[in-house]
Amino acid sequence: MIAFLIKRLMHAFVVMFVISVISFAIQSNLGDPIQQMVGQSVPESQRAELREELGLNDSFLVQYGRFATNALQGDFGYSYFFNEPTTEVIQRHLPATLELVIAATLIIVVFSVPIGVYCAIRPRSALSRFFMSVSIIGISIPVFLTAIMLIQLFAIGVDFSPFPVDTGWGQWLNGVLSTEGGMPSYGRGNDLTHLFGTWDSNFFSLDGLTYLVLPAVSLASIMLPLFIRLIRAEMLEVLQSEYVKFATAKGISLKRIYFVHALKNTMLPVITVGGVQLGTMVAYTILTETVFQWPGMGLMFLEAIQRSDIPLIVTYLMIVGLIFVVTNTLVDLVYGLINPTVKLTGKPA
């Protein structure tokens, strides 16, 4: 177990090293940070001075060496835009992103398990077919489109009146199709609960939660259909297996078979995929946060790219790399707990 963790820790170092080299290597293609810092009419001599001051004229190796030495001491440099250490900037933006990911994960877990299981138990029912066909659409709609549609429907509101308004039924049908809007369209709102450090939470007030709903739903929209289909497929397979048939023959209640015996085995591959997808979800926050102006890491990263804020870009990429390594390690550990036959690498047989 300890050997396994040490091995993973070394993986993390290698991953972060590679990411830092790559992100450093592409920085010359990210544009000129000086351009973003000064006004258009500032003469070239002033720019050259500033460039020299920031050490941008040094060779790649010198710049990387300087960065790596400082990074090993925990100093990842100063953001050009925020004028603060990049780690502090990220610390400030991290809670918002984590909350969004947690909320989306909750939505996914709460909905995907029952729906997936239902679709497996009653594969031919009309409701199952409905879920399956809609989930295909869900997978194919890009997350930013979902986000913009959600804003239009629930923040701004839509007036549909294809039915005659002067009849009772027409009015009722129009009412069903139309939405009134009113949900907040951007940001985290003002009613945040301070937890600790830089963490202000949306989870502890009704007002805070209303701000969380639309972004979390759009972030979940990309993974939810995937998980429903995954759970359904795995469950269908498990239900065909010998031990389920045997359990049925033995007369164990269907409820117990479905939810205790079958579901447990269904969840194994789901957790593996889930762990990997959790990392991917952090990446999807870039799109969601941009559309909703959610002040998290994703939005911060996109803006950093637009501003050629290289130190911040490098730090962000390294931290996301770390998140990937950590989640995958946790998945492997959890996997071992659920299925004792799985051996962790490095664990003596």
């Binding site: 004028n83 939005l299 911060m300 637009q306």
Partner: protein, 528 residues
């Protein structure tokens, strides 16, 4: 905010619709102070108004500070902290300052503060260049300042719109870390980038960079005649165009800028929202690089290119009427604006000229344009490329994000490059200085002259105009320059971008907007 009983249909992707209990949002009670929630595409990078010369910082300057004079809607001067002014001689201008003005700290505003501010401006990397003509500023008495220039200089008042006096007492001395409080730091922390004291209508009460800035009206604001009634301002940056518009339409904010041209119709159609537009002063043009392409040295070819491009069509269809077609650099209202110049558009004439110049079969050129800097920039470049194909010019177009584009621009990496320019001084001479003068790295002239166009005669005329202090005479000289550039087809002017703001109906934006693209929010009235 309207009270809503929203059927919060919580959804699952877009497929399961479950009715949940209605969530009522808090509606503001009547006793609340008048608040304006506004969304811009970016928030100011710093509280130090001398750190960067940019639209965002100037907008901030007008909130927390007041200039000596400011521009009115029709590009005239309006006295602010300077109550009046007179020209003593060719090189000296005397300003009489307003009495009884206080800074946010409670300190009195005096002539010393103006002198201190001008000296700091001359130290700022971004403002240094435009304040270069000023030799010195002297306090004659407590409320009189004299500004002296090196040479006779006609634009002292234009510069005075950039002089937002800072509280010199507040910014004097050292911080706990031993750094001078008045230092200007581009990359890193400084006292002035986090603290602010001006004479302006608003004080900053809280600021979270990239999230929001909150302002409150300054109780002792000097301008008691100002109709402005907004007591609280909340500025939120919303970079995504669609989201910014949605925030306004859904009522989450009261005022947005800029309004993306693709959403103009949508905003106009909304009955709760009012769109305010006016023609702007930023010229969009294409530069034909004579150093890279020999053919561009021939004025006939340059003219042919101008004749081939239909500016009106670009303004009408691409920009949806959100631009004014241009035949020159100076927009209407500038001294150099020459109303006799009309956009050229005549494909037959263009073909003739090409034939005359010996390029009947055309040639291939490269073109570069940014794709997120100006309104519809990439689409405009595509349209121009297509129009040029009618005179057999084969255009290899590349569009890039602005962060990458400017590097390529500085390298003059394509035969035709797009640029937009707004004169910091709101004066024609600034346009020529940067865009058409013979490039000279020493003086910085022609820094954005990617055409490498060079006509010393015209440059000489501009130089003469720049020491002419009689405004009418000077205007004639500048108009002659504009005509000469037109006759020489020094560049391909396309249009001036219009400005647009949108706000809720009860926000009376119309009286406070101006060509500078920062509405004077201190005078803004919000009806209750």
């Amino acid at each position: 905010m309207i009270d809503k009983k929203t059927l919060l249909a919580s959804l699952l992707g877009a497929f399961v619709v479950l009715p949940l209990p209605a969530l009522a949002q808090d509606s503001s009670s009547d006793s609340d102070p008048v608040t304006l929630r506004m969304a811009y595409d970016a928030d100011p990078v710093s509280l130090d108004i001398h750190e960067q010369l940019s639209g965002g910082i100037l907008q901030l300057s007008h909130l927390t500070h007041d200039p000596l004079v400011r521009w009115t809607k029709d590009v005239k001067f309006e006295p602010r902290l300077a109550a009046n002014w007179e020209r003593i001689d060719d090189k000296t201008m005397r300003f009489t300052l307003r009495d009884g003005v206080k800074f946010h700290t409670g300190n009195d505003f005096t002539a010393e503060d103006v002198v201190w501010t001008i000296n700091r401006l001359k130290r700022s990397a971004d403002f240094k260049a435009i304040f270069d003509p000023i030799a010195s500023a002297n306090a004659i008495d407590e409320h009189t300042v004299e500004i002296k220039t090196h040479k006779p200089y006609p634009l002292v008042l234009n510069l005075a719109t950039y002089i937002f006096p800072m509280d010199s007492e507040y910014y004097s001395g050292k911080t706990e870390d031993g750094d001078p409080k008045d230092e200007i730091v581009k990359n890193g922390d400084s006292f002035a980038s986090r603290h602010s004291s001006g004479t302006g209508p608003y004080e900053v009460v809280s600021r979270q960079q990239g999230v929001k800035v909150e302002f409150e009206r300054f109780d002792d604001y000097w301008d008691k005649d100002s109709p402005g009634n907004v007591e609280r301002l909340v500025l939120t940056p919303i970079g995504e165009n669609a989201t910014r518009v949605s925030a306004l339409l859904s009522g989450d904010v009261d005022f947005i800028a800029p309004v993306p041209p693709n959403d103009l119709e949508r905003v106009k159609a909304d009955k709760n929202v009012e769109l305010t537009t006016m023609s702007g002063t930023r010229i969009i043009l294409m530069q034909l690089n004579q150093k890279r392409v020999e053919a561009f040295e021939d004025p006939r070819v340059r003219k042919a290119f101008n004749y081939a491009v239909n500016q009106q069509a670009i303004a009408d269809r691409l920009m949806k009427g959100f631009a004014t077609p241009a035949a020159q650099l100076s927009p209407k209202g500038y001294d150099g604006y020459n109303d006799s110049l009309e956009p050229r558009y005549d494909v037959e004439k263009a073909k003739e000229l090409m034939k005359e110049a010996g390029y009947e079969d055309g040639f291939s050129v490269t073109m570069m344009a940014p794709n997120n800097r100006y309104v519809n920039d990439a689409k405009i470049a595509q349209a121009v490329a297509t129009m040029l194909s009618r005179i057999n010019i084969d255009v290899d177009l590349k569009t890039l994000p602005k962060a990458q584009y400017w590097g390529e621009y500085d390298d003059r990496a394509a035969d035709i490059m797009m640029i937009g320019w707004h004169a910091d001084t709101e004066d024609s001479a600034n346009l020529y200085q940067y865009l058409t003068e013979c490039p000279d790295p020493e003086t910085g002239a022609g820094q954005y002259n990617a055409a490498n166009y060079c006509n010393p005669e015209i440059d000489e005329k501009v130089a003469q105009a720049n020491i002419e202090t009689d405004r009418d005479k000077r205007a004639k000289m500048l108009q002659a320059v504009e005509k000469a550039l037109y006759d020489d087809a020094a560049f391909m002017p396309l249009h001036w971008q219009d400005l647009a703001w949108a706000a809720k109906k009860n926000v009376k934006l119309e009286p406070v907007v101006n060509v500078m693209n920062f509405p004077y929010l201190g005078d803004l009235v919000v009806e209750q």
